[in-house]
């Protein structure tokens, strides 16, 4: 049997690799980042963490002690396929790998909502703002607003404050009362984290405004001011609540989208999350997908955070070791004590968070006719409406083909869900499950050069 292919070197991929190595197996971790850690433990050359670095170093040390684990950083999988029990991946350096066991640990990225001016330089995703900071201490601006929904806005705002950025406000669109109690009621460690963030924000006198949103960014060639407003429970703007503030950057985040591009190429069965309707990989109790030998762990199976990713990675790693005949099922049971219960507890917590921080439909009322919907192809809201009402597009796919929405370089990673929701609203029905799944269909996951393609054809 070939060594296990692990796509993604974040918490899930790292913890799976460690379990495989402990069982005496070999594996290769592939990640587009030159360093291990994923988005959560993204770090620069100096490997400094503001908190929770210990768990990263423990995993990294164990991986580096096992010579059977190869880490191939700075490498992208541009294609994946599954035939006759063998998963194959093609890398952008022109090489390819195949194995009977593969782990999808591709993580997630920020979910974005469009608003007038969201394409201006200085407007970033919340995760993007934090990624710059973690990777090299770069700041998106000097005076910024952090807005959107979800508990993730807190660590982003706190880390910006700690880096010396003037955070002018944290705007949470959902009516979450007693944020901290809500988190603490379910998970004490989360409450400690939240308390730390609140303390940093309070010390810096950062206003936290519940039920507010950024509805527009303006400026001559870059973000210079922002329009904020109080929104109702459905995210529609409350009349008379509009304020304009000067700033030089904004960070917005609306939860996360699991990255399912390669999962889709591998042909695994997916589910539609009942709360936010995101597409997630369907896995069994052992984190195995519908394709024998293909496993998934972390955000690709549903957004749940680092603790869930670590547990799912361990479960997957142990199950892979059993499937490869490295350990017995009895041995696997001993290695898995408590993992299933902990996984179930955190999943419930994650679902509870998802329903509190749900995206409400009223965000569409922030759009102007000229607001960009598809950033790559520069398609406006008016153009999307036009293909539905004037050209007669009556499904998401036709609307995309006629408007070019989602057909640019990012292949709909940013606007795919936005287009599905906007088109759905215009034609008077919700996007179907298959339309939502179609968002993730990208046979070529990342651009490659013709020279690389030619090399792989040989």
């Amino acid at each position: 049997m070939s060594r296990t292919i692990i796509i993604g070197g974040g918490p899930a991929g790292m913890s799976a690799a460690v379990e495989i190595a402990r069982a005496g197996g070999d594996a290769i971790i592939i990640d587009s980042n030159p360093r291990l850690g994923g988005q959560y433990w993204r770090h620069g050359a100096d490997a400094k963490f503001s908190h929770d670095g210990e768990r990263f170093f423990a995993l990294q040390d164990e991986i580096s002690r096992h010579s059977e684990i190869e880490v191939r950083g700075g490498s992208q999988v541009w294609r994946a396929s599954y035939h006759d029990g063998v998963a194959s991946v093609w890398l952008n350096d022109g090489t390819s790998l195949a194995s009977e066991t593969l782990l999808i640990a591709t993580g997630a990225y920020d979910r974005s909502l469009p608003f007038p001016g969201w394409d201006l330089p200085g407007s970033m995703t919340a995760g993007g703002a934090q990624a710059l900071l973690k990777a090299s201490g770069a700041l998106l601006g000097r005076a910024v607003f952090v807005a959107g929904t979800g508990p993730f806005l807190l660590p982003v705002a706190a880390s910006l404050v700690e880096a010396g950025v003037k955070v002018l406000g944290v705007l949470e669109a959902n009516r979450v009362n007693g944020w901290i109690n809500h988190l603490g009621a379910v998970d004490f460690s989360k409450m400690k984290d939240a308390a730390r963030y609140f303390k940093i924000l309070a010390t810096a006198k950062v206003p936290i405004r519940i039920g507010y949103a950024i509805i527009e960014a303006r400026g001559d060639g870059r973000v210079e001011e922002v329009v904020i407003a109080k929104v109702d429970r459905n995210f529609a703007v409350k009349p008379g609540s509009v304020e304009v503030h000067k700033c030089d950057a904004i960070a917005t985040g609306w939860g996360f989208t699991p990255d399912l591009t390669l999962a889709h190429s591998l042909g695994v069965t997916t589910d539609i999350d009942v709360i936010d309707r995101s597409v997630v990989v369907h896995v069994d109790a052992f984190q195995e997908t519908s394709q024998h030998g293909v496993f998934a762990a972390g955000e690709s199976t549903g957004v749940g955070g680092v603790d869930l990713a670590l547990i799912e990675g361990r479960v997957a790693g142990i199950a892979i070791a059993v499937q490869r005949g490295l350990i017995s099922t009895m041995d696997a049971k001993n290695r898995s004590v408590g993992l299933a219960q902990e996984r179930s507890r955190i999943r419930k917590f994650a679902q509870a968070l998802l329903s509190v921080y749900k995206i409400r439909e009223g965000w569409r009322s922030w759009l102007h006719p000229e607001t960009i919907i598809c950033r790559c192809e520069e398609v406006t809201f008016a153009q999307v409406r036009n293909v539905v009402h004037d050209l007669g597009a009556s499904d998401v796919r036709t609307a995309k083909l006629l408007s070019r929405c989602g057909m640019g370089m990012c292949q709909g990673r940013v606007c795919g869900r936005i287009v599905a929701d906007v088109v759905g609203a215009e034609i008077g029905r919700s996007a179907t499950d298959d339309e939502l799944r179609g968002i993730h269909n990208r046979p070529i996951a990342h651009p490659i050069s013709l020279a690389t393609l030619a090399k792989q054809g040989q």
């Binding site: 587009s32 980042n33 030159p34 988005q39 620069g44 050359a45 700075g74 990225y109 920020d110 394409d119 201006l120 330089p121 200085g122 407007s123 970033m124 995703t125 995760g127 993007g128 703002a129 934090q130 990624a131 710059l132 990777a135 090299s136 770069a138 700041l139 998106l140 060639g221 870059r222 990255d259 950033r375 790559c376 520069e378 640019g408 370089m409 990012c410 990673r413 940013v414 651009p447 050069s449």
Partner: protein, 79 residues
């Protein structure tokens, strides 16, 4: 090490990506869009959105946010 931004030689001291390197030097705008000539900079910061694409060593459409700096690298931005 040294890199070149629009032909100008700049000393680069640490190992970081093209996007953060340029942002630290106040280069928020990285390109103009094809159709409307609108300015764009980094958005997702993690290689997903393709908004920060620049020309590196003569090859167009390289994502600044996931491309590590290399000695002698030639970066072209439009602002």
């Amino acid at each position: 090490m040294k890199v070149f931004v629009n032909g100008a030689e700049i000393e680069a001291t640490e190992s970081e990506n093209v996007g953060t390197f340029l942002l630290k030097r106040r280069q928020q705008v990285l390109r103009k869009t094809r159709f409307e000539d609108n300015p764009r900079g980094m958005f997702c910061g993690i290689g997903v959105c393709f908004d920060c694409i620049v020309t590196i060593d003569g090859i167009a459409n390289q994502r600044a946010c996931i491309t590590q700096l290399r000695d002698g690298m030639r970066i072209e931005v439009t602002s």
